[in-house]
């Protein structure tokens, strides 16, 4: 049986354009719709709609953020290899997508992450050490979502996009959308991936957000892979084009270009804050590492593919641009290296000294108002444990 995910070019007489023309066999370059402001070679290019000026300080900031984010990722991966983390969800290659999206936020904007948004969490001011707890198995998330306007990592694929939409509906009711006050107007970013785009919840989130004109940016990091399944298994058209079917704009941005990602996300957020409703941003990128540290991508993808994406590295292109224009010097690079090393040490030492929770803590916070029957179960277990203490 021909596999529709790989067989293309069938004649679709009478039913619109040939999908093979719309969505060619290779989308490696992101296609003609890709918004780009900085080429993989570090050449500044311009875009008719999303162009913007960046200060040298801003660009150095992006570079620093991406270097530190990559360090969080490599350090956590190493901690998993050393047995200090049970698992780690790697973001290697997606630094520009996350920093671009993260830096476009205002403090009052709220983020609903997947379990891979380490760079966005960093932008929101969360100590990266807090991110390690759930991967180490000491908690299910250890930051206060309300303090950082950054939700807890969501493991069920796509579930958080509905939470984001509901939260955005709450913002509408709180009168913090479309007032024209930049300190007040707020929006939500819902993060998800290409695999999640197949989930019912994500599609329902699109429908609810469109129906209520909710101030939410659907930010999809299309990293081409849902564990072992390529993007062709999830969609027959470019993902950003789906937005039109739901009734709001979609745009595909070079997710390895931090400048373009920032510009596009910032514009989408402003639309949302202004009360113009949702936008779909497809950040076209590539998962350079494995799905998680338990995954082995050599079983399902070609190293040629990975090699071709290495040439589009998000950090190298900014570094090339900064060096060519004399915007960074040796001192800056040395300082950044030291900062990254310090961050690495903070993560290593902090992770290893993270205490295990006490067994009795499993009963904490099941309810706001704990039922008597659970109190009895907890107390019974405590008494049982004490019998072992007495035996010693």
């Amino acid at each position: 049986m021909p596999d529709p995910a790989t067989e293309r070019g069938q004649n679709r007489d009478g039913f619109g354009p040939d999908l093979a023309e719309v969505f060619g066999p290779s989308q490696n370059d992101g296609g003609p719709e890709l918004v780009q402001l900085l080429t993989p070679e570090g050449e500044r290019v311009h875009h008719p709609e999303f162009d913007m000026d960046f200060s040298a300080e801003q660009l150095r900031g992006f570079y620093r953020d991406m270097v530190l984010t990559r360090r969080i990722d490599t350090e956590a991966t190493a901690l998993q290899r050393h047995g200090e983390l049970g698992i780690w969800a790697q973001l290697l290659g997606q630094e520009a997508a996350q920093i671009g999206a993260g830096r476009a936020l205002r403090p009052q904007d709220y983020v609903f992450p997947t379990y891979r948004e380490h760079g966005v969490a960093y932008c929101k001011g969360i100590d990266p050490l807090s991110l390690l707890g759930l991967f180490r198995g000491v908690d299910h998330g250890n930051w206060d979502p309300a303090e950082f306007n950054f939700g807890l990592y969501t493991i069920v694929i796509g579930a958080q996009t509905l939470h984001a939409t509901g939260y955005a509906m709450g913002m509408q009711r709180d009168g913090v959308v479309g007032t024209g006050d930049p300190e007040r107007d707020a929006a939500v970013v819902a993060h998800f991936g290409d695999g999640a785009s197949s989930q019912g919840d994500v599609n329902e989130a699109f429908i609810f957000a469109a129906s209520y004109n909710a101030p939410v940016v659907f930010f999809c990091q299309n990293n081409q892979w849902a564990i072992s399944e390529p993007i062709e298994r999830q969609t027959r058209i470019p993902l950003y084009q789906r937005a039109l079917g739901f009734g709001f704009p979609g745009v595909r941005v070079d997710g390895n270009d931090v400048m373009a990602t920032y510009a596009v996300t910032q514009a989408a957020l402003q639309r949302a804050r202004d009360g113009q409703g949702p936008t779909f941003v497809e950040a076209y990128t590539y998962r350079m590492g494995a799905h998680t540290t338990t995954d082995d991508p050599t079983r399902y993808r070609l190293s040629d593919d990975v090699e071709s994406w290495k040439l589009k590295d998000p950090i190298a292109r900014v570094e090339a641009y900064l060096r060519r224009n004399g915007l960074i010097d040796t001192e800056f690079v040395d300082d950044l290296k030291k900062e990254a090393d310090d961050l690495g040490a903070h993560l290593r030492e902090g992770c290893k000294s993270m205490p295990d929770p006490k067994a009795m803590q499993m009963f904490d916070h099941v309810y706001a108002d704990m039922p008597e029957e659970l109190v009895a179960q907890r107390d019974g277990f405590a008494a049982y444990l004490e019998t072992f203490e007495e035996a010693r």
């Binding site: 939470h163 709450g170 309810y367 108002d369």
Partner: protein, 329 residues
């Protein structure tokens, strides 16, 4: 009838309870399919959108996971959403959001993100409906830590329990016996002080056998007690009201006196609420028991075609048959 009392149906009690909660707290929102202009397919939200506006009484797209999932976001923003699932059998598309998100958010966040949400589900059969409109899914939710599950059985409880559930900082699955929505009226005194939400209640005193029920089967149990009385048998009837947590104190007290217990619900018997209740009675009242605890429920079949639903549902005769069997020990 004093000035503050009136005769109301269950539908009216629930409606009045919702209205009162919305008046008392501007953060309370109502959301669901057809809850606005139509007032819900059972008219439980009748008139609320007219009085509280479209921002607080929200007609949703036709997607249950979307309803509950967006309600999670609204709760995270500080609202107290009351969502309506139109019929019991349609709750399953929202099952993931309920058990993985609503139930676990408070736990996951170490208490930082409460989920004060009420999920209203009209449940139970006897209305001659097509498939998926007559089910009793309570055990699925009572099995899930983090959720609380209650079932009202009469108009007065409908009024009070609705307000109490909305005031709860924990998520509550609120089951409404749809067959009773527009049945007998009861007298509501709005100035009365209600019992706490998570409590069971003895609704008829008796000495020979304890009959436990909730939601639609409370009426069945009461009819059975009346019929038994004509034969000289005295049944004590307890309305469980709360299914998670269970309030077993009054049950133990009763069973220790009667030595016999029958529990009846419309849900399938296998691993139903009755199984848990029977296990707990056995654990706590073992030396008082004169007979095994018996369960009278829906059979372990899918809900049948409506022409034979009354054979599937527990009725007065099946409850009395179980009572006879416990007395035969």
């Amino acid at each position: 009838m004093s000035a503050s009392t009136q005769k109301i149906t269950l539908a009216k009690g629930l409606n009045m309870g919702l209205r009162k909660a919305m008046e008392d707290d501007p953060k309370v929102l109502v959301m669901g399919e057809d809850v606005g202009k139509l007032g819900g397919v059972f008219r439980i939200t009748d008139g609320l959108q007219k009085d509280f506006g479209e921002d607080r009484v929200i007609d949703s797209p036709l997607a249950e996971s979307g309803i509950v999932g967006t309600a999670v976001g609204l709760a995270l923003r500080g609202y107290r959403p009351v969502v309506e699932i139109q019929f019991d059998g349609f709750v399953y598309p929202a099952y993931d959001q309920i058990v993985c998100q609503v139930a676990k958010m408070h736990y996951r966040s170490k208490g930082r993100s409460p989920m004060p949400m009420v999920i209203r589900i009209p449940f139970g059969g006897g209305i001659g409906a097509v498939e998926h409109h007559s089910e009793s899914p309570e055990a699925q939710f009572a099995h899930t830590p983090g959720l609380k599950v209650v079932a009202c059985s009469n108009p007065v409880d409908g009024y009070w329990m609705m307000q109490q559930a909305i005031a709860s900082d924990d998520p509550v699955i609120f089951l409404e016996p749809k067959r009773q929505y527009h049945a007998e009226k009861a007298e509501l005194d709005e100035s009365a002080t209600p019992e706490p939400l998570f409590t069971s209640r003895v609704v008829r005193r008796g000495e020979d056998v304890t009959v436990l029920a909730y939601g639609p089967t409370v009426k069945t149990a009461m009819s059975a007690a009346e019929a038994a009385a004509t034969e000289g048998r005295s049944l004590e009837v307890i309305d469980l009201r709360t299914l998670s947590p269970l309030d077993m104190g009054p049950v133990y007290e009763s069973v220790r006196r009667t030595g016999r217990a029958v529990i009846t619900h419309e849900a399938h018997v296998n691993l139903g609420i009755g199984s848990e209740v029977a296990a707990r009675i056995t654990e706590e009242c073992f030396y008082s028991l004169e007979s095994p605890v018996l369960r009278v429920g829906g059979f372990d079949t899918p809900y049948p075609a409506s022409r034979i639903e009354e054979d599937f549902l527990p009725d007065l005769d099946r409850v009395l048959d179980a009572v006879d069997r416990t007395l035969a020990y």
